[in-house]
Amino acid sequence: MGACFARYHNVSIDDEVPISDESRLGGRESVGLVQTQTFTFAAPPGELELECGQKLGPITLAYETCGELSAARDNAVLICHALSGDAHVAGYHAPDDRKPGWWDLFIGPGKAIDTTKYFVICSNIIGGCKGSTGPSSVNPATGRPWGLKFPMVTISDMVRAEAALLDHLGIERLLTVTGGSMGGFQALEWAVRYPERVASAIPIATAARLSAQGIAFNEVGRQAIMADPNWQGGDYDGKQGPLSGLAIARMIGHITYLSDEQMHAKFGRRLQDRERFGYGFATEFEVESYLRYQGDSFVRRFDANSYLYITKSMDYFDLPARCGSLVEAFENVRAEFLVVSISSDWLFPTYQSKEIVKALKANGIPTTFVELDSPYGHDAFFLPNERLSATIAGFLANVLRRGRERAGRGSANP
């Protein structure tokens, strides 16, 4: 199969973003080599009480950092990843890595989140499969992987785990917390749950609750996994696992991450490696080939049960319902906000960002809102975008400057 997808190695969305020379290992805009670290906490009897009522512990979080924490500890930036992300946010693990971390375009010396100024932290969420405790981790009670016995985790639980990590790192207050999509859920949750710990938040291409449409797509993905006979009720450790189900879930996801306009521009109705229809069910269209490639490469790096748990945590996220209304949800928020939406995003349409903005403004919270004009759909925040870079850089610089001015005044007039 590999050969017929070879052409796409240069065009697909999240795998094949062009890497500039400056961003290559050793380049002046690269954070260079990074290492994943782990932090374990909540060992019994101090387990984390999850929102669902169950307890979980010990919990391990995989995380990476780049840049340096300032002496005043006022320059920490927490990056929250989306559904399929991990702690490897920028730089390279090894000299022969084919590509850098998932948001390397925006993180590094001289980039939007400039690691010569800011200390960047990114951790894999709980429920994930990239080093943090999740359904593929070993259940201490049985010595076998949790599978579906893993308790349901929510966005709140993920954020509380991240807060424990920050305690461990000695970071009392974040300069900013940011993330796109589900990462944006976490950014909002942070600002609401820990008002004293967040100076600013940058939710990107996100919402205060997942829409019915979003839940619907998640459910189709889950059903694809659970309908795969190899899923075996989630108990597939040591076996092949529901690879085709997970691949289909990823294919569905990818459709929602693109836009009609971009699909048309990128694939149109072009055929893959053939001149005319074969009148059969082999992969014929380029768009089919692209989705198959995305699905097939995803199953090599992701756990199906994690996909079930994480999509479910997205479905449960609903700030307005939890707090009475979104305006009430933001009542105690102290952070200033930069809210970013993408014009062609139909999974998290702009109106959902505007709902956030409206509730923030009603609370008198300093809020900047930008709708990025981009044809690339939901995933546009993973792509090179000068305007997004400049927007984040400009916003962060002012948050840091004002914070330091306030701190300076504070120490001058105790």
Partner: protein
């Protein structure tokens, strides 16, 4: 769409400075069509104001962000709809009223979210405009109105006299300031002939009172 604002030249117009002088220290200010955010940045920096902007141009929005001015990227009516009643002391609309699709609605919203509105606009009653149309027989085209009929963003011109009448019909208290075409301060004498730019401070009902601190802006 409302509020197609063009980027405004920095500090070029006297009306900018005049508007600044009309805003009290520490006031909560909303600037509609705030352009690159210069006016708000000055108010924040020099007068300790709490400034918020609304701007439809993406590039100008970015400049606001770089200046540290909180800005809403989008339509001004939509942006104002997000605010509670009386959230601002002052709402500013500088040289943009004539570009809005529904000026009464814009003014109504300004006076809902703000206690006072400051509106500046080019005076279509200026003698040069009248002469160009009367004698030249063509649409006015001059330093005040630099567009041609086919590319103008201006859709709702008015004169000083028109706007006074509007205020009276709407029972709005007002204060007037006039500038010449070269942005020199003018007396009210024959203002509808002489003024290139008019600046109206308006409030609901009674005459204008000195500004007082208000609720926090968002």
């Amino acid at each position: 769409m409302n509020g197609h604002s063009k980027k405004r030249p920095t500090k070029l117009r006297l009306d900018y400075e005049l508007i600044e002088s009309l805003v009290a220290d520490g006031a909560k200010v909303l600037d509609l069509g705030c352009g690159d955010g210069q006016l708000l940045a000055d108010l924040i920096e020099q007068k300790g104001c709490q400034g918020r902007g609304i701007e439809i141009d993406e590039e100008a929005t970015l400049q606001c962000i770089q200046r540290g001015v909180p800005v809403y990227h989008g339509d001004m009516l939509e942006g104002m709809s997000f605010y509670r009643d009386g959230q601002f002391d002052v709402v500013i609309l500088s040289q943009t009223l004539q570009q809005t699709m529904d000026p009464p609605k814009v003014i109504h919203e300004m006076l809902r979210v703000g206690r006072r509105a400051i509106i500046s606009f080019p005076n279509f009653g200026h003698w040069l405009v009248r002469v160009q149309l009367l004698l030249g027989g063509r649409m006015p085209h001059n330093r005040l109105l630099p567009y041609h009929w086919y590319n103008t963003p201006n859709v709702h011109f008015c004169t000083v006299k028109d706007f006074r009448e509007f205020c009276e019909r709407q029972k709005l208290g007002r204060e007037e300031i006039f500038l010449s075409a070269r942005y020199q301060r003018l007396s009210a004498l024959l203002a509808n002939w002489r003024a290139g730019t008019a600046i109206f401070q308006i409030e609901r009902g009674e005459p204008l009172a000195p500004p007082a601190p208000g609720k926090p802006g968002g």
